[in-house]
């Protein structure tokens, strides 16, 4: 087991190094000068700016400096937010994205499991058809549409009630998170519903269920003790990547609901060629994904010894 984890850790480190290098190369290959502003700067000012951000050195030297700093967990100071360290940006805004993401995931998982179970129980009847229609919509409509609809929905609700039940945007209380989390989790919820439904149907037709039913076990007991428990396994396995996807994919939702998460820094940095923020957020997100996948692999290894054996054998 230790060898397995070590091996996975090593490949994780290589992956992160690769992500960092690819981003570095890609970033410098993108046309445009990060220090260029709407107002032209004199050659002296440009020179001073370049010296300030270390862009006066050859790219290879910049790369070595970057790798060295990365090893020490330091990404430098943002180009556009002139007084902020990239580390501070990540430290201040990732918890927001993570909180929103976790709530979205709870909603997605709970919803996905419940709706999936319901559709399987009512297979080919109207609840199944209705829910599956919603699932198709939720999977295919992009999140910014839901975000805008969600916000408009809150607005209409508040207008109808005559007072603000839920805030339209912003961050701070639990109420601020509710609708954004729902919107953010919707796609995953739909995906999990479909997964849950098919795995429920598979389990339902299994021999042990029929046996249980024949033994006269109550439907409720069959559902909770046998069907749900067995059907939920494949759902758990996709949760790892889903956590990473949700906590990193909230840019549009953060924008619409004025949530100070990391997503907008990630996107804006690319638009504004903010080199240090691009590198910092990409490496951070990359590392986060790698760790999530690693965690799932390790948990898998514990749950299912075949995987462990297969890996170390191969």
């Amino acid at each position: 087991m230790t060898a397995f984890i070590l091996k996975r850790l090593l490949s994780g480190v290589i992956t992160i190094w690769f992500i960092a290098t690819a981003t570095f190369v890609g970033m410098h290959a993108v046309p445009g000068n990060p220090l260029l502003n709407a107002k032209a700067a004199s050659p002296e000012v440009q020179k001073n700016l370049q010296a300030r951000y270390g862009l006066d050195k050859p790219v290879t030297t910049q790369y070595v400096i970057f790798l060295n700093n990365m090893l020490h967990g330091e990404f430098g100071i943002s180009f556009t937010q002139k007084n902020r360290r990239v580390n501070d940006i990540i430290a201040e805004h990732f918890p927001v994205s993570a909180t929103l993401g976790v709530l979205a995931l709870v909603i997605a998982a709970a919803g996905g499991i419940i709706w999936g179970a319901v559709t399987a129980l009512y297979r080919d009847k109207w609840p199944d058809a209705t829910i599956m229609l919603f699932v198709v919509v939720a999977v295919s409509v992009p999140s910014f549409v839901f975000a805008m609809l969600g916000q408009l929905g809150i607005l209409k609700l508040n207008e109808l009630l005559g007072f603000s039940l839920l805030p339209v945007a912003g961050w701070g209380s639990f109420g601020h998170m509710l609708v954004p989390a729902l919107v953010l989790g919707l796609g995953t919820m739909a995906y999990l519903t479909r997964l849950m439904r098919s795995s429920m149907l598979e389990v339902t037709s299994a021999d042990f269920i029929r046996t249980a039913r024949a033994k006269g076990v109550s439907t409720l007991r069959i559902f909770f003790k046998h069907q749900l428990r067995n059907a939920i396994l494949p759902v758990v396995t996709v949760l790892g990547p889903a956590i990473a996807a949700i906590t990193t994919g909230g840019f549009v939702v953060e924008l619409v609901f004025a949530i100070p998460g990391l997503g907008r820094y990630f996107v804006q940095a690319v638009q504004q060629l903010d080199y240090t923020v691009i590198m910092g957020t990409t490496v951070f997100y990359g590392a986060f994904l790698v760790i999530m996948v690693l965690a799932v692999d390790i948990v898998y290894g514990f749950i299912d010894p075949r995987i462990r054996v297969g890996k170390s054998g191969g």
Binding site: L36, N37, E44, N48, Q151, L155, G170, A258, R264, Q272
Partner: protein
């Protein structure tokens, strides 16, 4: 039996969901911010982005300037009517070779230390210090030795500024600077306390506590990317004139729709900078939409470099004779509050006695297809061309850029049979291509840096780095230098009139539109000042009506 059970199961799940949901709603109902609070004298506002840089020596953007204009003040400032008025300086004398400012006595920074003339000396030197790499250093170039210091050729002590005593500031000009008073109200020239600056170890202005304030408000809270709060500054000299106690900014979003929704739900008092997509909704809601000209002038800029066909004046004349700014603004752009433009100078610029546009009315190009074709024939002859190569039109990838580029493409094809290759780029890449001269025509624009027509007029001077089409004319340069150094207002305005004529006659650019910023404001919020120069909007003198 089976059916019944599962039905119960289903309703149980629904009940659970309902319970969770209502629990959430209960906690959710504690909603904080309200647009206006007359009792507490507080207004709530949403900014489009986090202020990127509150260090006055390096700050260049509007959002930072908006905050700075509330929490800091220069030698002069703007009063409740948006006119220049005494600020830190209670009186001054502007001469051809310099200026003297007499500071108010007993002024204090927000932490109680005295504000003295040396705070300006330190700040202005810091702006020009090469290591600061300030992009607005050029604003101080009228001062003796300023440019040489900025280029690292002289020590900062050589700058033409001196604190004669604690309350007298002496400034020396390299050449007359008739517009200097307006500059002193601009954030780049705001004072900084040296001891405090040095005590922050390079983190000056990084957080609310890393700044000293001398304006009507002070920043008491700044959660990066999330919120900030400005409260009335008890040390401000003119505190009696400030009605508001607090400007609260709990929302930061670039999404105009979200800002409009916040206003509709009574969470903010002013939804600023609304895009055209948002406007339809606002109009449907019968909201009162307001607009103001933000100083942005937009035009088609030609590349005048010798290797480009657009260097030919007849070709440019031909294009001028087919482009109707009115058609473009009203039929293509369609943004309320935006006006067709015929000159580089905005309509609100003041002239000698009345508005500049009345004293020197801009000439409207005559739309005439016959003449345009004749110009084109002449151009072909002069350039020795059988047919024009496709002209490259550089544009921004923003929503307006694409549409405008396509409009120009169609227009030039249909009227003059000119092929146009549209080159749409992201903002920074468009700038890079403009700087290297990789275009024939570019959709470009200009916003003012300081409160004087010169901020527009010197744009096409041959040595100006922002003159990306490299237009070069001795006559133009001559009139710019007249406008730069003449103290007589009438002569200055005549010089700007001449510049306007040259821009038209020589078709240096083809003016397209004057941008209007669209916003919706709470009807009870009054006396908000909108500005084209510096920070906008300004709530210093705002009041909440009953």
């Amino acid at each position: 039996m089976y059916k019944k059970r599962s039905f119960r199961l289903c309703s149980m799940a629904q009940l659970g969901f309902l319970l969770i949901f209502s629990g959430l709603l209960l906690t959710a109902s504690q909603v904080s911010a309200v647009a206006l609070d007359r009792e507490a004298r507080r207004i709530t506002y949403a900014m489009s982005s986090e202020p990127p840089d509150l260090n006055t020596t390096t700050s260049t953007d509007q959002v930072s300037h908006m905050v700075l204009d509330h929490v800091m003040e220069g030698l002069l400032t703007y009063d409740s009517e948006n006119n220049l008025a005494p600020g830190v300086a209670e009186r001054w004398k502007l001469r051809e070779d310099g200026a003297t400012f007499w500071l108010r006595k007993g002024l204090r920074w927000s932490d109680g230390r005295p504000l003295l003339a040396k705070d300006f000396v330190f700040a202005w030197r810091k702006v020009l210090e090469p290591a600061t790499a300030s992009e607005y250093a050029f604003i101080l170039f009228p001062l003796v030795n300023a440019q040489a210091i900025n280029e690292g050729k002289l020590p900062i002590e050589a700058l033409g500024i001196k604190a004669v005593d604690d309350y007298t500031l002496e400034v020396r000009f390299a050449k007359p600077c008739p517009y200097f008073l307006g500059l002193t109200a601009f954030s780049t020239l705001f004072p900084i306390n040296e001891a405090f600056y040095n005590s922050r170890n390079g983190r000056y202005a990084a957080d609310a506590g890393d700044l000293l304030y001398n304006g009507p408000f002070k920043m008491t809270e700044w959660v990066h990317g999330a919120s900030l709060k400005m409260e009335k500054n008890p040390h401000y000299w003119n505190r009696e004139a400030i009605w508001l106690n607090e400007v609260d900014v709990p929302y930061i979003t670039d999404d105009g729709n979200a800002r409009l929704n916040l206003l509709r739900d009574n969470h903010i008092a002013l939804a600023n900078n609304l895009g055209e997509q948002v406007l339809g909704g606002a109009l449907q809601q019968r909201m009162q939409i307001k607009s103001f000209l933000d100083g942005g002038m937009f035009y088609l800029e030609f590349n005048h470099r010798p290797d480009r066909v657009t260097r030919n004046r007849n070709l440019r004349k031909a294009i001028q004779a087919v482009f109707s700014a009115e058609d473009y603004v009203y039929k293509v752009l369609g943004t309320p509050g935006t006006y067709p433009a015929y000159t580089l100078f905005p309509r609100w610029i003041k002239g000698e006695k009345q508005m500049f546009k009345r004293e020197h009315p801009p000439r409207k190009p005559e739309i005439n297809l016959e003449k345009a074709r004749a110009y084109l024939v002449a151009a072909k002859k002069e350039l020795g061309l059988e047919k024009f190569p496709p002209l490259s039109l550089l544009a921004d990838d923003g929503s307006g850029g694409n549409r405008t580029a396509e409009f120009m493409q169609t227009l030039l094809k249909q009227t003059l049979d000119l092929d146009v290759k549209v080159d749409v780029q992201i903002f920074k890449q468009r700038l890079a291509k403009m700087t290297t001269g990789d275009f024939d025509m570019v959709l470009s624009g200009w916003g003012p840096d300081y409160d004087d027509p010169l901020t527009y007029g010197d744009l096409f001077m041959s040595v100006n780095l922002n003159n990306r089409g490299r237009y070069s004319s001795d006559t133009y340069d001559h009139w710019v230098s007249v406008a730069q150094s003449t103290v007589d207002v009438k002569q200055r305005m005549q010089a700007f009139g001449k510049l306007q004529d040259i821009l038209f006659e020589d078709v240096v650019i083809i003016p397209m539109y004057e941008r209007g910023k669209v916003y919706v404001q709470h009807p009870k919020l009054k006396r908000v000042i909108r500005r084209a120069v510096g920070g906008d909007p300004n709530f210093n003198y705002a009041v909440i009506k009953e």
